[in-house]
Amino acid sequence: MSTSRIVVTGIGASTPLGGTAPESWSALRAGVSGTHTLTHEWVEKYQLPVTFAAEGAVRPDTVLERPIAKRLDPASQFALVAAKEAWADAGEPDVEPERLGVDFATGIGGVWTLLDAWDTLREKGPRRVMPMTVPMLMPNAAAGNLSLHFGARAFARTVASACASSTESLVNAYEHLRDGLADVVIAGGTESAIHPITMASFASMQALSRRNDDPEHASRPGSIDRDGFVMGEGAAALVLETEEHAKARGAKIYAVLVGGGVTADSYHITANDPEGHGAARAVRLALDEAGASPDDVTHINAHATSTPVGDPNEYQALKQVFGDRIDDIPVSATKASTGHLLGGTGALEAVFTILALRERIAPPTINITEQDPEVPFRISGDEQSLGAGDQLALSNSFGFGGHNAVVAFASA
């Protein structure tokens, strides 16, 4: 087993805030909302109760070559765009194919491909169902295609744990690198599921905000009048690498991935454990792996989806770990700007966390008009300074199924 530290050498993202990681970060810092009224005919056609979402700012099929794009579900298209950016940002590492791995997640998979093919089958019969249907809709399509594109032969793994998926992928990548299974891993997650079926289903379970007349202000984690999350889409990717490998090639190092924790609630298929035991254990596991104490933590990117019950549950979970100090740690709830990217959200928030450490600021949490006293995180519509000392930040993700995943990053 290797004892090397694991470092971040490249980042990429295609999100509701921008087609790249720097554009997304700039828009986040500027307080932009990525949420807008949907203009698709199907919103009216199916009388959807929720008429807005945070769509990708740049359609990925407009930046990929057409023969490549048409073999990929939009979820895999977003993944490839983000991963190409991260790979270029990392300086296109020279690595043996057998030492390059992929850990790339999705929450739902190729829902557009599946349901478009179902429509084709019903309207035109089986002869018209495209041969690429299954390889496009399978949940490992993004990981497999990234392996193909970048020549990664160590492994190409997909974890599916709903909204915890891509944080769990980062934890897996950390473990794979720590255990010596690869020298470099392309890790992250993707989702493109703003589809009438998912919109109807999430609305049916009362999980989505209904602020149809004011979509830009609908995602408001921590606000007393929050009423649900906002569907988002997109992908984010990180190039993770052993420190030896990164230093040997003179790579720039954004941050150190110092630990991760994954737990399960075994409480309810969709609701969080209201006492937050599973989430608190995931935080403690990540800190233990990092060899750090709760007192070392200087910033948290909260899961904070803007649902009435989820936000206070997360606060309670963190209070178990941090005690009263939780009220002093600068927290960002960036879904206020991005919406909820489901399987892509953890990787995106990891990218934001890394940039927060690098620039020593907690990015703003927009749309807080009146903060809920039951969610008294130190969140702000303005940037918060993280101060001058060593930085240790957490990014939390929790998913349907009772999945909890936490990653810890330290300043480089």
Binding site: E65, R66, P67, K70, K124, R127, R128, M130, P131, P135
Partner: protein, 82 residues
């Protein structure tokens, strides 16, 4: 109204370009799908599905393996148009 060989060739070239990115100029009657155009089996089946839709013909699975060249496909389509 039946299409001419040239019209079918042009239409088929569009489908091949769309699927593979190969320039329409490269798509000529004597070109082999596999040896010259490097089209794999799954792309070939995608082109077949799209050709059936575009030209209103049925290309049986058993027949696809006989379509070695672009010319074979053009001949099959023109001779089986409704």
């Amino acid at each position: 109204m039946a299409l001419t060989n040239d019209e079918v060739l042009a239409g088929l070239a569009e489908l091949i370009t769309d699927e593979t990115g190969i320039s329409a100029d490269e798509v000529a009657l004597e070109k082999s799908f596999t040896d010259d155009l490097d089209i794999d089996s799954i792309s070939m089946m995608t082109i077949v599905v799209n050709a059936e839709e575009k030209f209103g013909v049925t290309i049986p699975d058993d027949e696809v393996k006989n379509l070695k060249t672009v010319g074979d496909a053009v001949t099959f389509i023109t001779s089986h148009q409704a």
